[in-house]
């Protein structure tokens, strides 16, 4: 009997690429689509993003009924490469590259008096239903919070490695299992009467959320993209603290529960520290050792802004027209 971690089940397909991936994972088919199919697919669409997500999840927890050997299946890796090339090329085309790392970071360090992102909406006007949707969407990342970033550790050295490891240590509970951030998020989900099973909301998640998660996996898994991973991590940590304050206020206003509030309050304080360590030690340390990676760091910051903006537009757009942002009701 299997008594280990909960294994997510395979989702339903969202088109030809994801259907072919699912069939291959189930060993119902021995072949995958040619690279040309990925090149013609919408790089941010449901189909490509789900196919890519399926490939990446083999490196995290895999799926029930899928052979663990699939993680290093050569044909699947070649297919994943075609999906990644399409996604990465789109990000490089669409994310406006900042002039340099310092100006990109400086821009993130300015706080608008009244912004218009998801956290502002949830704080001021959001409903409990919208908060639950938001948590279900974000659970695709937060139930593996900081995992994609751990892959960069062997690719960093000296100051950058020490700083990154220290922040990851905090993310992973500073030695205490009950403080692991992914666990705190599961506690939040329980307060919101959501299912805390890993991957439970994959079928419901919008492609914009899949892209948010896929960007991290892409940058984490490729050593050549270590600079972009560091830029991405800096962007996430810098923008997190003020966002989390507003989300904590939203949880408080809506009476979401103590664990729901705690998750965001913990991040207000933790990420105010993390962004300092990431800028002073990780980014500065990396660029001191490998100055040629500056453009990659800037790209990581820009690509993160792009996928987050798309996610924001989708959620706020759906809610404005009184639709769910999810593909299936909770």
């Amino acid at each position: 009997m299997h008594t280990g971690l909960y294994e997510p089940t395979l989702p339903t397909d969202r088109g030809e690429l994801s259907a072919a991936t699912l069939a291959y994972l189930r060993r119902a088919s021995g072949s995958l689509p040619p690279a040309g199919d990925a090149e013609r697919s919408d790089p941010y669409g449901d189909d490509l993003q789900l196919a890519l997500y399926l490939c990446y999840e083999l490196h995290y927890r895999g799926f029930a009924g899928v052979d663990d050997e699939m993680e290093w299946d050569a044909a699947l890796l070649a297919f994943r490469r075609a999906l990644e090339d399409r996604f990465l090329a789109a990000l490089r085309d669409d994310a406006p590259l900042p002039a340099d790392v310092d100006s990109a970071l400086a821009e993130l360090l300015v706080e608008p008096v009244q912004g218009d992102g998801i956290s502002y909406h949830l704080r001021d006007d959001g409903t409990l239903g919208q908060v639950r949707e938001y948590a279900a969407q974000r659970s695709l990342y937060h139930l593996k919070e900081a995992d994609p970033h751990a892959w960069v550790l062997p690719r960093l050295h000296g100051r950058a490695k020490a700083g990154m490891a220290a922040v990851e240590y905090d993310e992973f509970g500073a030695g205490r299992g009950e403080r692991v951030h992914a666990r705190l998020f599961a506690d939040l989900m329980r307060d919101l009467s959501l299912d805390t099973g890993y991957g439970r909301y994959l079928d419901a998640a919008c492609p914009q959320m899949l892209a948010v998660s896929n960007l991290m996996s892409l940058l984490g898994l490729h050593r050549r993209l270590r600079g972009a991973l560091v830029g991405h991590f800096a962007a996430v940590e810098i923008t997190s603290s003020p966002n989390c304050r507003r989300l904590a206020q939203a949880m408080e206003r809506l009476g979401a529960g103590p664990a729901a509030e705690h998750f965001y309050r913990e991040h207000v304080e933790a990420d105010a520290v993390h962004e300092q360590v990431v800028r002073h030690e990780v980014v500065a340390g990396l660029l001191e050792a490998e100055p040629q990676l500056a453009a990659d760091v800037a790209f990581g910051i820009a690509a993160t802004g792009l996928v987050e903006d798309r996610f924001t537009e989708h959620l706020l757009g759906s809610w404005r027209s009184e639709r769910s942002s999810l593909r299936h009701a909770l």
């Binding site: 300015v110 608008p112 207000v268 105010a272 300092q276």
Partner: protein, 67 residues
């Protein structure tokens, strides 16, 4: 827990804008005698006095724009 820093000077970073960064754990006694404790590996102590989680930084020192 023993760490190399037990043998070496505690590192602080001061910034023109932004918190004082101190290696944790840290115990801070406030004006009114209350004591705040943080056991993080690094602690960001608010210096702008605008933090709503004082004495810890909550990024309230950041420059704000109207747009």
């Amino acid at each position: 827990m023993h760490s190399p820093r037990d043998e070496s000077p505690r590192r602080l970073r001061v910034q023109r804008t932004g918190p004082l960064l101190v290696e944790g754990p840290v115990e801070v006694t406030l004006d009114d005698g209350t004591v705040a404790v943080s056991d993080r590996f690094c602690v960001a102590v608010c210096t702008c006095r605008r933090s709503r989680t004082y004495p810890w930084c909550d990024t309230s020192h950041r420059r704000r724009t109207a747009d």
